[in-house]
C-alpha cells in the first residue's frame, strides 16, 4: 500500500513571512547584461546609461518659417503703409546649401527648415510681405529683430548636453529625441530570460486531447505564467512538459539554469517533485526559502541554481499567478528597469460580511462592481483554489492580515488590482445560465456574467451586488427591479437521439429504471421542474438520480450524450445543438431584471440596447421566442 508518499512528505515548517520572502527574492540577481539594440526596436526598453547629445540640433541656423531671409536692420521702420522694398537675389530650399549670401539691402527667399544664408540674421514670414516688379523685389510690411523666425544651431539640443538618463523607458517621445540626435543604436538594459518548467503527469498542453478517465487536465500555468513574465518585461523560454519523469525534469532544470536568468517551476511542490528540485538545487546551488506564510501560495520555494535564480510556484493557477505577481514580477520588472505600475490599487467597500481563518496573511481574490455613485463594491471570488474561472472573475486581491478574521459588510478595503489596466465590469450580471443572454452580452463591452443560477442572483441582489439579475422559473426577487427584457425558452427532458426509451413526460420517469441528471437547486429551470413535479404523485423522490445535479444549462444534456445518464433536464436549444432527442414539458420565461438604482450606469444602458436586438439573437436557438 502506498501510504509512504503521503506521510513521508516534507513539511513546510518555519514558514517565511511575506516580507522575508520579498527580501529573499529581491536578493536574487536576475538582471542580464545590458545590450545595444537598433533604434527601431527599442520601444519599451529602458536606457542602460546616460545619453548625452553628440551633435547640435539643429546643426545650423535654420529658418523656422517660410519667407525671406534678410538683415534685420534693413527692415527697421517697415509697416503696411510704408513698406521697405528689397531686391530678391535668390532662393534657399530646405536640404540644400545656400548658393547665395545676403548683402546689405537684399533679400533671399527661404523655406522652413532651410539653412540661413551668410549675411542674413532674420526671416520675415511670407504673410508679412508682398511681391513687387514681377517677383524681382519684395515689399516688407513689418520690421523684424535679429534672430526672428530663426532657430539657432544648438538651440534645440546643444552637443554635450545631457539628453536622457539611465533608467529612462523609451516611448515614442524619447525615440523622437534619439532620432534627432542621430542615435541609431541604443544601450538598453537586457531583458531577463525566464525559463518555465511545468511538471505533473496529469497535465496536457492545450490543443492535446484529454483522457478524463485518467484524470488529465490542461496545463494552465505554462502559458499564463509565460504571458505574465512578458507583461513584467521578461522573455519566456517554455521547456517541454516534463510530466513526472524525474530524469527529464532534472535535465530540464539543469538546462534552464544554464540558459536563463531565472527558472520557474510550477506544480512541482508535490512531495516527489520537491525531492528532485531539492537534489538539483542542493547540488548546483542553494535553497534560500522553503514555504511562505501566505495563502494562497504557502509552498513557494526560492533558491539559486548555478548562475540562475530559482522560484518554485504552487500548482493551482490562481495561487501560481498570485505568488508570481506578488513576489516574482517585481524582481523581473526591476531587472528589466521597468517601474512598478502605479495606481494599481483602488478603495471599495465589502458587499457582505466575510470570515476567514487566522494565522496566515491571506490574499483574497475579489471582484469589483461600481454602484450608482461610482463607488466600488467588493466581493470575494472563492471558487476553490483549483478553479481557473477565478482568474477572470476576480479583478484583484485584498490582503488580510494574519490576525484579522473578519470583514464586516460595508467595511472599506484596499484592492490591489491584478494590473493597472483592470477596470470593473461595465455591468455585473448574476443569475440563470441562459444561452440567449450569453450571446446578447457580445454587444456589451467588458460585461461580467456569473451564471450561478436564479436563486443566487436574487440572494446577491439583496446584498446590493449585481447590476442585473437573469431570472427564470417561478421565483421572484424580494427587491424591486426594473425589467430590461424577457423571452421564453422551451424546456423539457433531453434524451438520447431517437428517444430509445420512448419517454413522453415526467410520469415516465417515476419509479422507472432510468437514470436522470438534474440541475442544481440555484437554477430557475430546476425550480420550474420542481413546480411541475408538485403536480405528480410523489414527485421527485420517485426519480432515480433526481439528487444528481450539474451546474450549467447544457451540462445534463452532455451527460446524456456521454451515456452517463438516460434523461436530463434541459432546453430544446441544448438538445438540438448536441443532436439529442427532446421531450417538451413547457415554456419558461427568462427575465433580465435591473437594480433600479443602477439603470443609469452606462453598462446597463449598453446591455439594454443589446437586448433590444434579442429577437435576432434567438432565431437560431430552437425553442426560444422573443
Amino acid at each position: 500500500m502506498g501510504g509512504v508518499a503521503v506521510t513521508d512528505r516534507k513539511e513546510f515548517r518555519d514558514l517565511a513571512s511575506p516580507a522575508e520572502a520579498h527580501d529573499v527574492v529581491a536578493s536574487l540577481d536576475v538582471a542580464p547584461e545590458p545590450e545595444t539594440v537598433p533604434l527601431e526596436e527599442c520601444r519599451g526598453r529602458v536606457l542602460a546609461e546616460r545619453v548625452d547629445a553628440a551633435i547640435d540640433v539643429p546643426g545650423f541656423d535654420r529658418a523656422s518659417m517660410d519667407g525671406y531671409a534678410v538683415r534685420a536692420r534693413d527692415t527697421f521702420g517697415a509697416s503696411e503703409r510704408d513698406p521697405v522694398v528689397l531686391p530678391l537675389t535668390g532662393v534657399v530650399h530646405a536640404g540644400e546649401e545656400p548658393a547665395v549670401d545676403v548683402s546689405e539691402g537684399e533679400c533671399v527667399e527661404i523655406s522652413t527648415g532651410a539653412v540661413m544664408p551668410d549675411g542674413a540674421d532674420a526671416v520675415v514670414p511670407v504673410e508679412r510681405t508682398a511681391e513687387r516688379e514681377e517677383g524681382d523685389a519684395i515689399a516688407f510690411e513689418a520690421a523684424v529683430a535679429p534672430g526672428d523666425s530663426v532657430m539657432a544651431a544648438g538651440a534645440d539640443v546643444a552637443a554635450g548636453e545631457r539628453a536622457l538618463g539611465p533608467g529612462t523607458e523609451l516611448t515614442p517621445r524619447e525615440i523622437g529625441l534619439l532620432s534627432a540626435l542621430g542615435v541609431d543604436a541604443v544601450p538598453v538594459k537586457g531583458i531577463p530570460t525566464v525559463g518555465v518548467i511545468s511538471t505533473g503527469d496529469e497535465l496536457v498542453r492545450p490543443g492535446g486531447d484529454l483522457d478524463h478517465r485518467a484524470g488529465q487536465i490542461h496545463d494552465v500555468n505554462s502559458y499564463a505564467i509565460a504571458a505574465a513574465i512578458e507583461e513584467a518585461g521578461g522573455e519566456t523560454v517554455l521547456y517541454p512538459h516534463a510530466g513526472d519523469d524525474y530524469e527529464e525534469m532534472e535535465r530540464q532544470l539543469r538546462a534552464a539554469a544554464d540558459e536563463c536568468d531565472l527558472v520557474l517551476t510550477s506544480g512541482s511542490t508535490s512531495a516527489s517533485a520537491v525531492d528532485i528540485v531539492y537534489r538539483v538545487v542542493e547540488e548546483r546551488g542553494e535553497l534560500l526559502l522553503h514555504g511562505v506564510a501566505i495563502k494562497p501560495g504557502k509552498p513557494m520555494l526560492v533558491g539559486r541554481l548555478a548562475d540562475a535564480a530559482y522560484v518554485g510556484l504552487p500548482g493551482y493557477p490562481v495561487s501560481a499567478l498570485t505568488i508570481f505577481r506578488t513576489f516574482v514580477a517585481p524582481a523581473i520588472r526591476d531587472a528589466a528597469g521597468k517601474p512598478e505600475p502605479e495606481r494599481a490599487t483602488v478603495e471599495g467597500r465589502m458587499a457582505t460580511d466575510e470570515r476567514y481563518g487566522r494565522g496566515r496573511t491571506r490574499l483574497v481574490p475579489v471582484g469589483l462592481v461600481a454602484d450608482e455613485t461610482g463607488d466600488l463594491v467588493v466581493y470575494p471570488v472563492d471558487k476553490g483554489s483549483g478553479a481557473t474561472t477565478s482568474l477572470v472573475e476576480a479583478d484583484g486581491v485584498v490582503e488580510m492580515d494574519a490576525d484579522t478574521d473578519y470583514f464586516a459588510a460595508g467595511a472599506s478595503v484596499t484592492v490591489e488590482l491584478f494590473s493597472p489596466d483592470v477596470r470593473p465590469p461595465s455591468v455585473l450580471c448574476i443569475g440563470e445560465d441562459d444561452p440567449a443572454f450569453a450571446r446578447a452580452l457580445d454587444g456589451v463591452r467588458n460585461p461580467r456574467y456569473l451564471a450561478e443560477g436564479t436563486r443566487s442572483g436574487f440572494r446577491r441582489l439583496r446584498d446590493g451586488l449585481p447590476d442585473v439579475v437573469v431570472a427564470s422559473g417561478p421565483g421572484a426577487p424580494s427587491e424591486e427591479t426594473t425589467t430590461l427584457a424577457s423571452w421564453t425558452r422551451e424546456w423539457g427532458l433531453v434524451v438520447p437521439e431517437g428517444n430509445p426509451d420512448g419517454i413522453e413526460g415526467l410520469d415516465d420517469l417515476l419509479d422507472a429504471d432510468l437514470t436522470f441528471v438534474n440541475r442544481t437547486t440555484a437554477s430557475g429551470l430546476r425550480a420550474t421542474l420542481d413546480a411541475a413535479l408538485d403536480e405528480t404523485d410523489g414527485g421527485s423522490e420517485r426519480i432515480r438520480g433526481y439528487e444528481r445535479t450539474v451546474r450549467a444549462h447544457e451540462s445534463p444534456a452532455r451527460r446524456v450524450r456521454a451515456g452517463d445518464a438516460d434523461v436530463g433536464l434541459g432546453l430544446r436549444a441544448s438538445a438540438a445543438k448536441l443532436d439529442l432527442g427532446f421531450v417538451p414539458l413547457g415554456e419558461e420565461r427568462v427575465r433580465v431584471l435591473a437594480n433600479p438604482e443602477r439603470v443609469a450606469k452606462a453598462g446597463v444602458g449598453e446591455l439594454e440596447r443589446a437586448l433590444d436586438g434579442i429577437a435576432g439573437v434567438v432565431t437560431d436557438l430552437p425553442g426560444y421566442d422573443a
Copy 2:
C-alpha cells in the same frame, strides 16, 4: 527667381473643426480581418468572437486535497476521540486511471487532482487521519459530507457556458482560462498595418552623417511615429525615405495603399509634396479633409487611397505626434479592439500667467511638477514647434478653446497626459548647465533637468516652479533656498589646441583680431565673465563676437573646434574633453539650491543622496573640485 513656390501654394481654407476631424478619421475603416493566432502568441491581442467552453473543467470528479477517498456516510460520527477505522484498499495518483473502486467500509489513498474512484463521494484530508496497522488501515478523526474536498466535473467551467466575450483583451488571466479550456488557437482581431512614408530632401535617417551646410537634419518622425503606432496597437511598415523625389514618393504611396490599412505621411504638407498626395489621392481615392482648426497641426490631410485610409501629418515632430495622438491613435486602437487608455488626465494649476492668440483650438504642451503637498503645478513647454526636446520635456497637453486667450497663474487646468504611464518628474531641476550635475542625476530615477541657465532658474523659482535650482556665477536667488551641495569648476578661455594665438588672458581679447564666442546672458558662467570684464578697461565692447552667444556649456568650445571662432568662453573640463587648449581665468562655485518647501519630496531626497557622491563623479572632470 523662385517666388512661385511661396505664392502659388495651396491655402488651407475652410479648416475643419477638431470634432469634424475626429469624425472623419473615425469614419475611415482601418480594421483588418480577424485572424487566428497560437495561444502562446495571443497576449495583448483582443478576442474577435465569443469563446464558449467546449469541455467541462475539470472533466472528471477530482480530489481537491491529498487524503483518502471514502463514502462520506462511512465517516459519520467519527471524531478525534472516537475515530472510524477503514481498511486501505489502494491508491490513486493524479494523472492515472483509478485501478480500484471504493466499496462500503473501505478507503483509497488519493492525491490532489486525481480522479475520484467509483463508489467514493468525498475526500478526507490527510491532516484529519492517522495510519493504523502498518499502513493497511486508516483512522478517520472527522466526518465529511458527500462532495467534501471534491471538485465535481464541470464545477469550474461547464461545457456550453460563455467563457470570454468578443472584445476581451487577453492578459495572463484570460490565457490561463483559455488553456484550461484546451484552446490552443485563438480568434483575435487583426493588427492594423500602418505604412509610414517620410518626405523631405533635408531628412537623413539616424545613423547617417549630416551635411550641416546643406541643412540636413535627422528624420525624427519616422521612428517616433512608428513607435507610437505600435503603442496604439498597430504594426508599422517603414518605407524607405522618399526625399523630395516625387516619382519615388508616388510609387511608395501606391505601394503603401496596396499593402497597408492606413498610410501616414509626415512632412509632406509642404506645397509641392501636397501636390503629389493630391494627385495620387484624387486618382485612386478621395480627399475628405484638408486642414483642421487646431494648433499645432493645422495642415492635416485625411482621405482614402484605394482600399487604405490616408492621413497626412505635419512635419514638426511635436506637431506630428500630437496630431497622431489626438486623431489617429484612437482609430488604430479602435481597429485593434484596444480600449481607450483610462485615467490619462490630471488636474493641476498654472505656474504663471499665459497668454495666447485666439481663433484656433490650441494643444499647449506642458510640463508638470508636484509641489510639497503633491498637487501638480503646470508650466507650458514652448521651445518653438521645430524643437524635439519639447517631446521629452513635456508631459502632456492642455487644450485651450479657440476663444480663450489667457490662463491666469493659479488657474486650474486639465492636462491630457501623453500616456497613462506618464508621471511627473521625481525632481524638477532648472538652472546652469553643468556636466557634474548632469552626471549626478544618473543616480536619480525620473529626474528632469532644464539647463536654461542660472538666471532662468532664479526667475522660475520666483514662480514656484523648480524643486531645485542649479546656480553658478555671482547671482543669488531672491527667495530663501536650502543648499544641497556645491563644488567649484575652473573656467576660462577655450582656444585651439596649442593656443596658436598665444592668448594669456582677457586683455589679449580687447580690440584684437580674434573672434570670440560667448554664452547666453542666462548663464551663470557668462555672469562670471561679465564680472571679470568689469575690471578691464572698456570691457565687453572691445571684444569682437562678445554678442555672439550659444546655449550650452560645451557649445563655445565646439565652435572653436569647428574653426568657427578663435576663442570661446568655457570650462577646463570641456577643453580637455574636446582636446582643445585652455587659458584659465578662475574658479566659480556651482550651487545646488532646493526650494525649502520641497526638500521633503522623495525625489529631492534621492538627489541629495546622489550628490553626496559628487566627489566620485568629478574625478574625471578636469578643473572640478568637490
